[in-house]
Assembly symmetry: C2
Homo-oligomer: 291 residues x 2
């Protein structure tokens, strides 16, 4: 099988899209920063089952990295990515240059500001401006591709919710499809950043998911969140994690949890200089007499 065609010229992308559109074909977009793993490929397969043509974008977006973050060392592995995508159902890889994505310069053009109650909490608290950068690039990708559907993983749960809110608030017509986190057999959520871990850290890393699962079990058993959080933080510290947050949120609004509504337990923690995130669903408590 041949790998998907790689396009970096917006005029070529527009021509291809026009040809597809003119015969009424639907188009799906899977936005990525490359270094593809099974999580991304699951999104591509889901897209291929839902739309006629699948575009995977590969763009390491400078505006979502902070000044002391890993933009420079973020893995760029286009050849490997194309090999992965061969036979996956991807028709075209959209790999724009920074100048195509940001004609006025990255961080110097028109920005998207995410409401503080969505963008400045959780990962946004530790990474100021991160979600403005994410929204800024995703909006541009949506404008460039004009997809009927776009596919995101629940691994980046806050990002997913922010994009869903953006689509609604900005009257975008794309439909967002969310897919469950794909995990290694030991439970570690797949992530391009897992490649930064040394072998010792890699052995510790699955504890993040294990502690998260235990917290959910305790919540399901009716334990108080404050007690669960204290215990979870202690377990993560014992396992060698430097924790950014362990938080329970409303699953839709990311605001403080209402036990009668679906919730989400989210964690961000570092092993050495590598920042890992994960999250799990928490079901509403079966309270009597509430609707």
């Amino acid at each position: 099988m041949r790998p998907p065609v790689v396009v970096s010229d917006p005029a070529v992308l527009a021509d291809r899209l026009h040809a597809w559109r003119s015969v009424g074909s639907s188009v799906g977009l899977v936005p990525t920063m490359g270094n593809l793993h099974e999580g991304h490929l699951g999104l591509v397969r889901s897209a291929a089952a839902s739309v006629r043509h699948v575009i995977v974008s590969i763009f390491v977006n400078p505006t979502q990295f902070g000044p002391n973050e890993d933009f420079a060392r973020y893995p760029r592995t286009l050849e490997h990515d194309l090999a992965q995508l061969t036979g996956s159902g991807c028709d075209l890889v959209w790999a724009p240059s920074v100048a195509t994505m940001y004609p006025l310069g990255p961080g110097q053009g028109f920005g998207v500001s995410v409401p503080a109650e969505l963008g400045n909490i959780l990962c946004g608290d530790a990474r100021p401006g991160h979600f403005d950068g994410v929204a800024s690039v995703v909006l541009r990708l949506f404008n460039q591709v004009g997809p009927d559907m776009a596919f995101f993983g629940e691994k980046d749960f806050q990002q997913l919710r922010i994009i869903e809110h953006m689509v609604n608030d900005l009257s975008l017509s794309v439909r967002i499809k969310a897919l469950p986190t794909v995990r290694e057999t030991d439970g570690l959520a797949m992530s391009s950043r897992n490649g930064y871990l040394d072998s010792g850290q890699r052995r510790q890393a699955p504890l993040l998911h294990r502690v998260l699962s235990q917290c959910v079990a305790r919540l399901d058993a009716g334990q108080d969140w404050t007690a669960v959080q204290t215990e979870g933080l202690a377990e993560l510290a014992t396992a060698g994690f430097d924790v950014d947050y362990l938080a329970l949120c409303d699953a839709e609004t990311l605001a403080g949890p209402d036990p009668r509504r679906p919730m989400r337990l989210l964690v961000a923690a570092r092993l050495g200089s590598t920042r890992l995130i994960d999250n799990l669903a928490v079901q509403p408590r079966g309270t009597v007499g509430t609707s």
Copy 2:
């Protein structure tokens, strides 16, 4: 003739657009805040000559007014507007509610931040956040309507340039068509805010355009900008204007003027509590030996 249909429900708008799109018809958008005058109607006629279907949006956008500005008293004249639009070539008036335009609340949802060098100068200096509000609503209108072309007047020159830059920077596919300012017979630029003027102010108001024209004539005659500006400011003060700015800019970037490139002379000034703006083109100077 029947007035154009008024639509406030996004689902109804989407149905109508789908019907038009499915037979390959082009769509043009004329964004307005209502209280239509001959300037708007010129945009509508130009749109009708360029596209198959013309949508005029009428929405008094709260996010582009400052806390001490005229949002509350801004004229809302839908009946009169529909009468004006009858026979103009407008097929549909899109008149969304504030909740439709801003599902998360005006000023509380996703914002668009205009680069400071475009949005914080000239009118943006006196009206902080104004152009972020303009960009925010225009982006939503573009997303709701998906027009092939959108029509703006040169009267709001800074707004026009900001929208053109936004379209380019955010990879929007709409084409922006600019039309010259429409003037009263005495030279006053048509504006909804002219209705705020009392009869004495109305007699003074055309001096804004007259002084602007004199400044352009002096620049064309080779006079130095600093001298022209000093003279112009004095003339405006004598005529009773409280001047916000009288500025010479690059006509494309709005940066400091380069005499070898097209320039724009812009003015904002108050008569009582009414703020008027106007602008005129300034041709490049015919320098020898430059390309």
